[in-house]
Each structure stands twice: as structure tokens, then as C-alpha cells.
């Protein structure tokens, strides 16, 4: 069952405090591994934290005052989504809060009326519509296996979810590439210095605002990897290993592919990942009578 209120609030607070640290560390390791793959030494693992601290020291330069509001809302609702997730809340509610937070980022980019931000915003929106159905279908798949939308109950379920949802897992990995802003789907802005339309969606953010966006990304990373955990929740050790492997694969893909156009991104996400998810769900639905779930 759902753990009692104090445990839930505690987990949410723990997430809000610890997620930026974990997320920042993940990004630091990511940069190190990426550098090694490219034959460089790479920055220190703690470099992302140095970057953000430095950004906070800079002057708050904006095109429009409202940018501050959008960026802050992006951070707040990303934290809310993640906190709901880690406190064992309803997965669908988590997804809607997650989308809400991204809409704020997009609006912030539209706000400045610059060509680069504008293209970034449009592309970010395309990415949102590319990944959102898959994440919803992931939640639906988990419901079909565990009969619950509550993350708390899914995480404590002893069913090896991955055995029932291999198609959905692959579909999720495809959209994870989009969400982690990695090649070949880093359309709106990319995390590393790949090919880039200036800096896409973040072009007109500087100083503290850019730092807030960065911290929001860290929150997001921890949440996204948390979903990977759920697939393997029957065994925490396997789950941790799966997260590491999945992330490594994402880095590898990032460094071996080049960016594609938005059309191909949308097609890959909707047609390939979508078909995988739907076929998986269809088979599961068909077998529901046979398997005793």
C-alpha cells in the first residue's frame, strides 16, 4: 500500500534536497565519460557545480522581466513532478506536472522574441509531443502489470515488470534520448557542444536564469532515471545496474550519431517507439487472461 504521510513527505523533501546533487554528479560523470570517448581528458567530475555557482554570481540580464517568472516556474514544477514521483504519487499526475513544467520553459523561450529562442521553442514543443505519448503509455503498461498507477506501489511490487514490458522499455529508452537532450534527437538545445543553432531554447537566458535551468535539468535527470528503476524494481541491485547501463548506452548513442531533422525525430518517437509500446500493450492485453497478473 501507499506508505503513510510522513514517509511520503520525507521522501519528497529528500528528493528536493538531494536530486540536484545526484543530478549534477551524473552530468559531471557524463561529461567525463563523453570526453574519454572523444579522446580528451575532460573536466573534473564536479565541474557542473562550479559552472552553476559561477552563473549565479553573474548579473541577471534579461530581454523581458517575465523570463524570470517562466524559468522559476519551470524549476518549481519540475521539482514538484519529481517530488510527487519519489513520494509514491500517481504516475499520471507526475506526467502532467512534468509537461506543465516544460511548457513554462517553452514559454520563457518564446517570451524573448528572438529568432534563435523561437526556433528552439518550436523544436522543444515538437520534442514534447514526441515523448509525451510514450511516457503515458509507459505508465499505462506499468498499470497493466501491477494494477496501480501509484509509483509507491509499483516500486514495491515484486513482479519483474521488465519481463512483461520489453517493448515499452525500448520505447522509453528512445524517448529518454530526447529527454536527456542527446544526439541524434538534441533538437532544441544540446547538452554538450554538438552542432547547434546557437543555444536553441536557452539562447536568451543568462546568469542566474541559466543556472536555474541547469538545476531543473538535474531534477529532471533523477526523475527520468527513476522511471528506469521502476522497470527493474523487483531487485534494487539489478535496477541500479540497469540505470548505469541505460545511461552508458545513451552516452554511446550521443557520441556515435549526428543530429537528425525534427521530422525524423517525430517519426522515430511516434512510429517506431509508439508501435513498440502499442504492440507490447496489445500482447499484454491479449494475454491477460492467460497470465495471472
Amino acid at each position: 500500500m501507499i506508505p503513510d504521510l510522513t514517509v511520503r513527505v520525507g521522501a519528497a523533501l529528500l528528493y528536493i534536497i538531494l536530486a540536484p546533487l545526484v543530478g549534477g554528479l551524473v552530468v559531471g560523470i557524463d561529461r567525463k565519460v563523453t570526453a574519454r570517448m572523444q579522446g580528451r581528458v575532460g573536466p573534473p567530475v564536479l565541474q557542473p557545480f562550479y559552472d552553476v555557482l559561477k552563473l549565479f554570481e553573474k548579473e541577471n540580464l534579461v530581454v523581458a522581466t517575465a523570463q524570470n517568472y517562466y524559468v522559476l516556474s519551470y524549476l518549481v514544477f519540475m521539482a514538484v513532478a519529481g517530488a510527487l514521483f519519489f513520494s509514491g504519487g500517481d504516475m499520471l499526475l507526475v506526467i502532467f506536472a512534468f509537461t506543465l513544467s516544460h511548457i513554462f520553459l517553452v514559454l520563457g523561450a518564446y517570451n524573448s522574441f528572438s529568432p534563435y529562442s523561437h526556433i528552439g521553442a518550436e523544436r522543444e514543443l515538437i520534442q514534447i509531443i514526441a515523448y509525451e505519448p510514450m511516457i503515458i503509455l509507459t505508465a499505462v503498461g506499468m498499470y497493466m502489470v501491477t494494477k496501480t498507477f501509484y509509483v509507491g506501489e509499483i516500486a514495491t511490487s515484486t513482479i519483474p515488470i521488465i519481463m512483461y514490458l520489453p517493448g515499452i522499455f525500448i520505447g522509453y529508452l528512445i524517448v529518454l534520448t530526447i529527454k536527456l537532450r542527446k544526439s541524434p534527437f538534441d533538437l532544441s538545445t544540446s547538452h554538450h557542444a554538438h552542432q547547434e543553432i546557437v543555444k536553441g531554447v536557452t539562447t536568451d537566458f543568462t546568469g542566474p536564469n541559466l543556472a536555474i535551468i541547469e538545476i531543473s535539468h538535474w531534477y529532471e535527470y533523477v526523475f527520468l532515471l527513476g522511471v528506469v528503476y521502476l522497470f527493474f524494481a523487483f531487485n534494487p541491485f539489478i535496477a541500479i545496474a540497469a540505470i548505469i547501463v541505460a545511461y552508458f548506452v545513451e552516452i554511446l548513442i550521443d557520441n556515435t550519431t549526428s543530429r537528425v531533422k525534427w521530422q525524423l525525430t517525430l517519426r522515430t518517437a511516434w512510429i517506431i517507439a509508439g508501435t513498440l509500446c502499442l504492440v507490447n500493450l496489445g500482447v499484454l492485453y491479449y494475454l491477460q487472461g492467460v497470465l495471472t497478473l
Partner: protein, 633 residues
């Protein structure tokens, strides 16, 4: 009982007065006053009946039944005359067919029937009455100022405002009648009145386009009307006592008797709520003055269509016919959402968004489990509030900037700050958590997953829902982008328009905050009454939703932190700082920046996708028709 009769008769009386009143000032007082009365009386109905489940009223069938017949025949003659005048052979054929069937029914089948309990009220009727009485009358008040400006901008259009307001109030009266009537023959009467009202309103400007679109709407709705009459005749033949003409009796008499009329009436509902393949009439209806669109889309007309389908949901539930109707709705939701992506015309985007949401409501009603009926009613409420606000905002914007193109709305936040914020709230109401439509989408996913073939609908919801996010967000982005030195042009908006807009904006937010209350007081008892079980909202999720709403409302205040602090600069223009929104080129040339949204016409073009939708829709409907013939034989 008197409240109900008052709600039907009072707008009719006001309508007649409005037809006779020549002066603007008297009309203003009449419309505003009666709008207030209608709003208060519908709230009084809520107060009086919310805890009494279904209450029946025994109104004598005659002479009202005969009066209705005479009016219907007169209207048929009127339409026949117009059809001949404008040479619309299809309309003529339909009206002749319908009138013939009606005459057969009236003279050969109806005598001998003694229906009782012609009026009734239950929680669903109360909800509909509130929507009509509050939102419908607010739109009428807004129309006062709007029509003045409209005729000022369009001197070529004949000033027939007497007729216009007459029809608006007849429309409201007919809608009240429709949701309170228990006798199917009476429902049909009010149904036909709404068809003709919308026909006249769409054709108001008397241009060729308006006339054609009005006839398109008329023909499609008459087609539905024929199916409705067919249902009446079927019932009269199978049960000569006339008892099964009573909605309550019919709904409780089981699928063996009720399925055929349910499907026929649902077909009528599909035409009225403009699902594919009939969506073109609602898109065409946007030639009418904007308050008409607001009325058609939010509180009347299309809502009558989904109202009747939701009524029949328990009959449709679990049948193949019901599943097909649900699929028509589902396909409409998906494809209309796609089409909305490719539209630059603001009213068209709103129209397709309405069609999509109606599709979703029908999808819920067609599958018809108790959870889904709960969702369908919730969708009706949220959609009515947010959509009326959006239409009225777009109408106001159109009069001030002279365009309804979304591309021309860039930087609206600077030019019309208050209207822009209201549009922002309305759009958020349509697709963002924790506002209404997302609550419904969420509940719909949870409900579909437990119903047969629910997976198809979940896939439709997931993909269609993300298309929805796309077209609203890019429009929002357009409004809030900050252009240079905007000039404020919203000061000429009159006070009563502001009042209407403020109330509707507040309603969008209030509905999202108090929806658990609406659900507990009205929707849950209604569903409980029919199905014997009801949707119960988990308290923890409700608390979270309301906290999120609080946070969302609080966030704008963080702007106060930055009132003086941040330093402003121009946007990034390829590294060369310029004055404002221009690129600095070589030899002193500067190029102004023009930004346009993505519309992806190649992928989501209207023609292509509508073709797919129409083909699928007709295919499904023909399949349902074949099944129905099988059942009848």
C-alpha cells in the same frame, strides 16, 4: 416545477420583447436584466433540486403537443420556402422527408398514446441548466456590445439586431426545454428549434458564404433530425402505449428495446455535435459573429448533441454499436487535434479544438462505463467554461487588431495585456495541469484502462492529447512574446464586456478549484443513480491538485521580486547587438525580424486529414447502420 417552466418560458417572452424593441438602450437593459434573472433562477434550481435525484413533473401533453406539431410544420414550410429560394435541393429533400415522417407519426401513430411526466429534472439536467443559464446568458450580454462594434465595422451587413437577439433567447429557451424534457417527442421539438436557430444565426450576415454555410449546417442537422424522427416512429410502432417515448422509462427498459432508438438518436447527436464526418458545418459556422460561435460551441447546440448521447450511455454501454459510436468520437478527437496544429485562423483552431473535445466526450459516452460517464459530464462543464472565454477573447481581439490570424497576435501581451492574460487562462484551462481538461484526460485514462477495448482509446488519448499540447502552447507563445514598444489598444473595450470576460476567467479558475465539489454534489449522485456505483476521487490526489493550483496561482507574484532588479537587453541577434528586433547586416543595412510558428501543413493539413476522418467516420457509421438493420429485422 414552476422554476422549470419559468426557465423555458421567460427567455421566450424576452425574445418576443426583443423582437419588438427598436432602441439600443432598452435592449441593453432587457438583455442584461434577463441574463441576470436566468443566472439566478438556474442557481435557484440547483439549490432546490440538487439533493432530490430525479424528479418527474406531470405536465399535460395537450394542448402543448399539438402546438409543437403546428410550429414544427410551420418551420418546415419556412425551410422549404428558403430551400426553394436558394435552390438547395438536398435541404428540400431532407425537410420533405422529415415533415412526411412527422406527419405520419402525428396522425397515425400518436393518437392513443397518453404520455405522462413530460418534464423532469435530475443532476445532469441541473448541470446543463447552469451552463445554459450562466454561460449562455453571459454570452448574450457580451453580444450587446459586440454587435454594436460589428455593425460599425461591417456597414454592408443589414442591421437585423432585433432578429439576432430574438433568436439568441429562443435558443436559450429551446436548450432549457431540451434538457428538462422527458418526452422524446418534446426533445425532438426543442432539438429542431436549436437547429433552425443556429441556421439563422450562421446566415446572419447574408453573404454568399454565410448563406451556404448556414445551409450546410441545416442539412447536416436535418439528417440527424430524420434519424431522430425514425427513433420516435420505431418506438411508437414497437410500443403503441407510448410509454417508451418517456426517456426515463426507455432508459430503464433494457438494451433489447432501447438499443435501436439509442443508436438512431446518437446518430442525431453525432451530427449535432459535429463529429467527423459532419465536422464541416461547425467549422463553417465561424462566419457568424463571434458571440454566436461562442454560444454554439460552449453552452448550446453542440452540447445538446453530447447531452443526449451521454443520456443514452447506459444503453450503449457494452454493445458493438456503442463501441462504434465511441470510435467515431475517438477518431474525431485524434484527427481534429491534428488538424488544429495546421491552422493559423484563431477561430478555426478553436473550432477544431471543440470538435476534438466533443469527440472525446462521445468516446467516453459510447463506451459508457460509470467512470466514463462521470468523465464525460466533467468534460462538458470544463469545456463550456473555457471555450466560451476563448471565443469572446478572440472576438474582442479581432475587433481591435483587425485580424483573427494567430500570427498577427504576436506580442498581444503588450498591446492588450488584460485580454492576453485572460486568453492565457482560457488556454491553460484547455490543456494544462491542474486545470479542468487535464483532470478529465487523467480520469479518462484511468477509466478506459478498466473498460473493454480501452487500449485503443488510451492510445488515441495519448497521441491526440500531445497534439493538443502542441497547438495551444505555440499559440500561447505567440501571445506572450515581447515585441517592441507596443501600443495598448484594449482601452476601448466596454465595461459590460469586461464584466463578462472577468466572470468567465474567474469561472475557469473556480471550476478547477471546486470540481471535487461539483463532482460530489452533482455528478457522483447522478452516476450512482444510474449505475449503482460511482467514481470516487482519491483524496490524496485531490489535495495535490489543489496545492498545485495554488502554486500556479502564486507563481506570477514572484514577478514582484524582479520589479526593479534585472537589467534589460535586446535578444540575441547573431552576436551583433542592435536596437530592438533587427539583424545588423553589412554596410549599415538592418533587417527586421519576422517570426512565424510551425504549422506542419504537409503532415497535418486540413484537407488530407479531414478526408481520412470523413472516410473513417462514414465507414464506422455505415457499419453501425448495417448492424442496426440486422437488429430491427
Amino acid at each position: 416545477m414552476n422554476e422549470l417552466l419559468f426557465l423555458i418560458a421567460f427567455p421566450l417572452l424576452i425574445a418576443v420583447l426583443l423582437l419588438l424593441v427598436p432602441r439600443d438602450s432598452i435592449r441593453d437593459v432587457l438583455v442584461t436584466g434577463s441574463a441576470a434573472v436566468l443566472g439566478i433562477v438556474s442557481l435557484y434550481v440547483l439549490y432546490g433540486y440538487f439533493n432530490r435525484n430525479t424528479v418527474m413533473f406531470d405536465i399535460p401533453t395537450e394542448p402543448w403537443g399539438n402546438v409543437m406539431t403546428i410550429i414544427e410544420l410551420l418551420l418546415a414550410v419556412y425551410i422549404l420556402y428558403l430551400g426553394v429560394k436558394h435552390r438547395k435541393s438536398f435541404t428540400i429533400a431532407l425537410i420533405v422527408l422529415q415533415a412526411g415522417l412527422l406527419l405520419w407519426y402525428e396522425f397515425f401513430l400518436k393518437p392513443g398514446m397518453h404520455p405522462e411526466n413530460n418534464l423532469f429534472i435530475d443532476q445532469f439536467s441541473i448541470i446543463m441548466a447552469l451552463i445554459i443559464g450562466i454561460i449562455g446568458s453571459l454570452i448574450c450580454v457580451f453580444a450587446l456590445g459586440y454587435m454594436k462594434t460589428f455593425h460599425h465595422h461591417h456597414p454592408e451587413v443589414r442591421d437585423r439586431r432585433n432578429l439576432f437577439f430574438f433568436i439568441l433567447f429562443v435558443f436559450l429557451s429551446a436548450m432549457f426545454g431540451l434538457v428538462f424534457a422527458n418526452n422524446l417527442a418534446w426533445i425532438l421539438f426543442f432539438w429542431e428549434i436549436t437547429t433552425i436557430c443556429s441556421f439563422i444565426l450562421i446566415g446572419y450576415s447574408e453573404t454568399e458564404e454565410a448563406t451556404n454555410n448556414a445551409f450546410l449546417a441545416l442539412s447536416m442537422n436535418l439528417l440527424g433530425g430524420v434519424a431522430f424522427v425514425g427513433a420516435l416512429i420505431f418506438l411508437a410502432i414497437t410500443d403503441p402505449s407510448g410509454k417508451s417515448l418517456m426517456l426515463d422509462y426507455l432508459l430503464s427498459s433494457g438494451q433489447a428495446i432501447a438499443l435501436v432508438p439509442a443508436v438512431l438518436i446518437s446518430f442525431a447527436g453525432i451530427t449535432k455535435s459535429a463529429l467527423m464526418p459532419f465536422s464541416s458545418w461547425l467549422v463553417g459556422a465561424m462566419v457568424a459573429p463571434t458571440p454566436v460561435s461562442a454560444l454554439l460551441h460552449s453552452s448550446t447546440m453542440v452540447k445538446a448533441g453530447v447531452y443526449i448521447i451521454v443520456r443514452f450511455a447506459p444503453v450503449l454501454s457494452g454493445t458493438i454499436e456503442g463501441l462504434i459510436i465511441a470510435l467515431v468520437g475517438g477518431v474525431t478527437f485524434l484527427l481534429a487535434s491534428f488538424i488544429a496544429i495546421s491552422q493559423t485562423n484563431a477561430k478555426k483552431v478553436l473550432a477544431y479544438s471543440t470538435i476534438a473535445n466533443l469527440g472525446l466526450i462521445v468516446a467516453c459516452a459510447g463506451v459508457g462505463t460509470f467512470n466514463l460517464v462521470w468523465v464525460a459530464i466533467l468534460l462538458i462543464v470544463f469545456h463550456a467554461v473555457a471555450k466560451s472565454l476563448l471565443f469572446l477573447c478572440v472576438g474582442t481581439v479581432e475587433h481591435r487588431i483587425g485580424s483573427r490570424n494567430i500570427e498577427d497576435m504576436s506580442g498581444l501581451i503588450g498591446r492588450m495585456p488584460k485580454i492576453a492574460v485572460m486568453m492565457f487562462v482560457g488556454m491553460a484551462g484547455m490543456f494544462l495541469a491542474p486545470f479542468g481538461m487535464v483532470i478529465s484526460k487523467w480520469a479518462a485514462i484511468e477509466a478506459f484502462i478498466q473498460s473493454p477495448f480501452g487500449l485503443i482509446f488510451i492510445a488515441i488519448l495519448a497521441f491526440g492529447g500531445s497534439a493538443t499540447v502542441f497547438y495551444w502552447s505555440k499559440w500561447m507563445g505567440k501571445i506572450i512574446s515581447v515585441t517592441r514598444q507596443p501600443e495598448v489598444v484594449e482601452n476601448s473595450v466596454t465595461k459590460e464586456k469586461w464584466a463578462v470576460l472577468y466572470i468567465l476567467t474567474a469561472l475557469v479558475i473556480i471550476c478547477a478549484l471546486i470540481f471535487p465539489l461539483i463532482s460530489a454534489v452533482l455528478i457522483e449522485p447522478f452516476v450512482m443513480n444510474i449505475y449503482g456505483q460511482t467514481t470516487l476521487l482519491p483524496l490524496a490526489n485531490l489535495t495535490i491538485m489543489i496545492l498545485m493550483m495554488g502554486l500556479l496561482l502564486f507563481m506570477p507574484f514572484t514577478m514582484l521580486l524582479y520589479r526593479t532588479a534585472p537589467k534589460h537587453t535586446g535578444p540575441y541577434m547573431a552576436g551583433r547587438p542592435t536596437d530592438g528586433h533587427a539583424f545588423a547586416g553589412s554596410i549599415g543595412i538592418s533587417r527586421e525580424v519576422v517570426l512565424s510558428n510551425y504549422y506542419m501543413d504537409r503532415y497535418f493539413g486540413e484537407d488530407k486529414i479531414f478526408m481520412i476522418g470523413a472516410a473513417t467516420g462514414w465507414g464506422l457509421l455505415l457499419f453501425a447502420g448495417t448492424l442496426l438493420v440486422g437488429v430491427i429485422l
